[in-house]
Symmetry: C2
Subunit: 714 residues, 2 copies
């Protein structure tokens, strides 16, 4: 039986299940009129932002699609790539939009459900997160499997399908970068601005309706933490999938006496693994429930039941998948998939250790708050830097393990590179549920905001706060997954690029061996061009962070000025006089403009840097750039994500009454840490993983053109 059919089946099931869950969420009580009014305002502002963002991005997509079309007419690219580019961008945007759509509809319903009970609140918020999680994986696997069948129908051989699909991730990646960067600037500009002038200056609580930035802050959660993350993880999932399908074809062709059916099996495996992961995720959503009066630990455990259940189920199902698809001889592939899952778990644990206030690192940050703002900063930076050790070692170790388990060797690495791809697929296969545990966070956050703004009883806010706090931990873990899988995927893509050079890059037009590639193009460490590429590559993530952090800083400053102006010029606003309302929409407008304006340059770097270096300095320098940026960017991303989360939780730990509690000087210092951490963990850090993949993807897609045009041809 052709097991690939499992892929469209599982993806359609996921989408149907998501629809069912969405219907269930929408059935819930929307709350009283005042809550609906605010909730509608947030919904409208979020939708407006996404529409404007997507229209800007549409221009970019039109230009790029034109370029790609010309390239394919000129013979430098498969003619399917421009279509796949548009489709990938469209689905990634759609994943973000649907996530935002359900999240903005679920938050008021979560507030009301939480009023009833904590478990009900959890179920509603989690259902909304699951809609997003399943939509992401459903759409991605659907797109990939439809492509597979279409290309087969159009008469491509399995080898050709593999080679074509390797290039298919670029649309989703481009979209994801815009969504993450734009959304990240929006949400953190608004968040930082709101905190600085609200909590720190005016001394009013978070989400207080008097704060003119409060709506923008809540909109930001939806366009950044939901829509941006949705587009991002769509890209991670789909990117690892198509890269691995592509590497599968190359791997199968190293088997002596391979047939079309061998190649088909190697193409099939990643899709089947993804299908198994989806099934496991759907089943496991039912494990997520909690009892009343659950403590933080029990809440976390209720989510963990879902995530671990899915992982264990997926591991078992993947064993069957490998045996069915490839047979007993290739059981090493299961080892590679398993490696990915294990690395994911290790990263998750490490992230938790370094960012949760149950452990020492975060508590030392809280303690450092006693001696002021500066020591909080120094300590937090130090904790984040230290937290990179285990993730880096486990990804490096995981890459090696999956390479060798899959049967790779230094002479014929193809099988091993396929194994690295499979480990990324394995890490992400249960994304349906891990993303659900992540995406429910912003819903709970918004639910808390609504509770505050509509003056709900204290216990409602307490319950949504409990849900929200949990969301911080799962969000940090989710980012660890995204970064770890990105490192593996980017590694696989770089190998794909080397393979492309092997097929198209020989000066005499022949198909060469890897050794020919290495020696012809001097892709080794004695080539100063390659080393110069590494230097430039290592710099790019820093520049990218400089731009995105700078953008957040600038947006926040503008918002602070506007909020101060409103407090000054609107009589009675700060005192809370009845009937006096701030001009929320002006802050929303500032955030929107800032995000749209500032997302362009960082995104262009991802496209321009590899093309420029490849054109001027040649292929070896370009490969150096990719490896240099991957190394430095991966470490920087982990550092920033973890520092940010640790600062956030260090502040929360003080708010629980430690080291002086809320309002103390230590608390103020901790708020500074949290505020600096915001763009670390939600703008710059998570965008980096897309940057790394997009640069590899651009090199791949433009590869043949670069090979033909580069000034530095041997």
């Amino acid at each position: 039986m052709d097991l690939i059919i499992l892929a469209p089946i599982a993806s359609i099931l996921a989408l149907l299940f998501a629809t069912f869950l969405a219907w269930k969420v929408l059935k819930e009580d929307e709350g009283p009129a005042d809550m609906q009014e605010i909730s509608n305002a947030i919904r409208r502002a979020a939708a407006t932002y996404l529409k404007r963002e997507y229209s800007w991005v549409a221009v970019f997509f039109a230009v790029m699609a034109a370029v790609l079309t010309i390239m394919s007419f000129a013979g430098y690219l498969s003619p399917y790539v421009p279509i796949a580019f548009l489709r990938g961008g469209f689905f990634s945007a759609m994943a973000g939009y649907i996530g935002m759509w359900i999240a903005t509809r679920a938050s008021a319903r979560t507030t009301i459900a939480a009023k009833e009970s904590l478990n009900r609140g959890l179920r509603v918020a989690f259902a909304s997160g699951s809609v997003m999680g399943l939509t992401v994986v459903g759409l991605a696997l659907f797109d990939v499997s439809v492509w597979y069948y279409t290309l087969r129908y159009l008469g491509q051989t399995p080898q050709e399908i593999g080679e074509t699909m390797l290039l298919f991730g670029i649309g989703a990646s481009s979209m994801a970068l815009f969504a993450r960067v734009g959304g990240g600037i929006y949400t953190k500009g608004a968040d930082v601005g709101a905190d600085l002038v609200g909590k720190v200056e005016a001394g009013i609580p978070e989400d207080d309706p008097r704060n003119p930035a409060v709506i923008a802050d809540n909109v930001g959660d939806n366009v950044g933490d939901v829509a941006g993350m949705g587009a991002d993880l769509y890209e991670s999932y789909m990117g690892s999938l198509v890269a691995t399908v592509g590497l599968g074809a190359a791997a199968a062709m190293t088997i002596s006496g391979y047939t079309e059916s061998t190649v088909t099996s190697f193409l099939a495996l990643p899709m089947v693994v993804a299908a198994m992961g989806i099934l496991a995720s759907m089943v496991s959503t039912f494990f997520v429930r909690t009892k009343e009066k659950a403590e933080q630990k029990e809440l976390l455990w209720s989510l963990r039941k879902g995530v671990y259940g899915a992982a264990i189920l997926a591991i078992a199902l993947n064993y069957l998948a490998v045996v069915w698809v490839l047979g007993d001889n290739y059981i090493g592939m299961w080892g590679a998939i398993l490696t990915g899952t294990v690395v994911g778990v290790v990263i998750g644990y490490t992230t938790e250790y370094f960012t949760s206030d149950n452990y020492k690192p975060t508590r030392t940050i809280s303690e450092a708050a006693l001696t002021g703002h500066a020591t909080v900063m120094i300590r937090g930076l130090s904790v984040g830097m230290m937290s990179t050790v285990i993730p880096v070692l486990s990804v490096a170790g995981g890459a090696l393990a999956s390479f060798f388990l899959a049967g790779g060797s230094l002479d014929t690495p193809q099988m091993g590179l396929y194994g690295i791809g499979l480990s990324a697929v394995g890490m992400l296969s249960t994304l349906g549920i891990t993303l659900a545990t992540d995406a429910y966070g912003p819903v709970a956050d918004n639910a808390g905001g609504l509770a505050e703004m509509t003056h709900q009883p204290e216990y409602v806010r307490e319950r949504t706060d409990a849900l929200d706090a949990l969301g911080n931990t799962t969000a940090a873990t989710g980012k660890g997954f995204a970064i770890g899988s990105a490192a593996l995927t980017a590694l696989a893509l770089i190998s794909g690029f080397l393979d492309e050079i092997r097929r198209f890059g020989m000066p005499d037009g022949s198909t060469a061996t890897y050794t020919d590639v290495i020696t012809t193009y001097d892709i080794h460490l004695l080539n100063p061009l390659l080393i110069a590429g590494v230097f430039i590559g290592a710099m790019i993530p820093f520049v990218f962070c400089a731009l995105t952090m700078g953008a957040v800083g600038r947006a926040a400053q503008k918002i602070v000025e506007e909020v101060r102006r409103q407090f000054r010029e609107i009589p009675g606003l700060l005192e809370g006089r009845k009937g006096v309302k701030p001009h929320y929409e002006r802050v929303v407008d500032i955030s929107t403009r800032a995000a749209l304006k500032e997302m362009v340059v960082p995104a262009l770097i991802a496209i321009a840097a590899p093309l420029t270096v490849g054109y001027i300095m040649g292929l070896a320098a370009l490969l150096g750039l990719l490896v240099g940026s991957l190394g430095a960017g991966f470490v920087l991303a982990v550092f920033m994500a973890n520092s940010g989360a640790a600062w956030d939780n260090a502040k929360k730990y003080i708010e629980k009454g430690n080291y002086g509690g809320k309002g103390s000087d230590a608390h103020k210092a901790a708020v500074t840490g949290d505020t600096v951490g915001d763009p670390f963990k939600d703008t710059s850090g998570p965008s980096l993983n897309i940057l790394l993949k997009l640069m590899s993807m651009v090199s791949l897609v433009f590869g043949q053109l670069i090979i033909a045009m580069t000034l530095f041809h041997p």
Copy 2:
């Protein structure tokens, strides 16, 4: 004529001139009794710290020397290396000690001289800086040239001399790492601690004698910014010199029909270039003087006259050196040397642009202070990250330019690698004077402290402040030089390591070509072990910074607690009651202990990481580690050094009366930035460049052992 003789001559001249300058400094008036008392206390504490530091380090040196001796008996190492190791460590330590010796004697004299006139103050402080600068270059060139003559006397061929001297940098590097890390933790722990509790909490001015941390802070300037920097730059200078001498032998041997005299000329050139640089530096010290009532710009110009004068003079002399030593055919080598000088100037300008308050970047940080601590942090981090672009591009471009100018090609890269080495030597050749402009800063800083503590008239403090502020700019530039030259030197050392593999690494014992090395050991980008090495390498600088920043944070916290205790428990101290003095020595003791304890682990990483990776994962992974850490570490070092300097000057810009001036909320926020910047620019950032070189050096020295022992042998 054998031009190498210029090297010992120039070095002895430098040392004599340094002695003369020291004598001139000591002739100055030491000031009244109360100033002498404080000055003596600082001097004693600094000497005590250095003695204790050196005794700890002596243990390390004894162990390492034993290891190296055993290795050379076993045939894995030249028998001269253990001696060179000890000698390099000794001279590096001595350079630091002499710098500290004169600096602690010059500061009171500078205060008194500044009382007389600004120009007199500048001359005394600068003379003390020149003592240090000339001592560093004099000792280094003396050591190298004595080695050269000794080895020749002992009958080594020029080729052998080159191969042996390539391994000679490790002693100075090890010493430098301990000195920079230990000194950096000491000085910044004390500085941060003093600022946090003094300026921020108690609201007393900097260097107020009531602050129990004030002596430790001033001692810190001497053991960190003077002794640490002296050992560091001794290492940079000597490291680039011996590496280039080593690469010179390899380069000469690629010339068809080379003779011993050809090889000797190639060995000679870097030494002669260094000698020319020393002569240029000595002459140019006379250009440094200023008129009375000089403004900041004129002061800067007076230092610049010295630095630029030396550079122009050196460029001219180096032209002669190349023509005399190698002849007209190798004029490309002059291009390589010139490239280094130009890259140095470009880095200097960029550093100034990003860190001086005359330009926009630093002023935007000051502006961000208006919206609080968090925006100062975000903006400063963003500025520092952005400031990496030009230095990275110019070092990458400079490395390529000097490679090709020197006649390197991808098939026979030796000549080009020699060119890269020469460009590092060119960048550092005028270190005698650039270091003087850098080392005079802490003297002026201490002079200001003494003025404050002995209640000198206002205008004295103003003059020393003017000198000190200038020192901040020159210090930032000096760090840019150290980092840029380190990147080039490390690059040269990595090539030296590849050359070592070529000579000793072939499984059949033959001497191979570079292509053999690359293909036998898979030192290319398709090798997953190498990529895993890059990941681990990119992580190491972050871990190193986590440790050093964490150490500063911990030391500062301890000091804050002690100072708070003294303010609480010593009656009348904070009010400034007559005759009540704090227990300075307790804070000095805390700083000393913290620095000594915390310097060990970071230093061990530099030794252990390459050995472990090389042993377990093989040579390709080790080379990946070196390249990964070089790429990430170089960018990180520039970022941290520049962020730190920019925060410092952003604070000073506010203190000049902008954005609310001293005491405003903006000023408090800027002080936070400055405090976080302290370990960035004076502990973690500048230690990174030593780390990068030491790891390459360890790989080189242990190279034959690693080749023989590694588990991953092809």
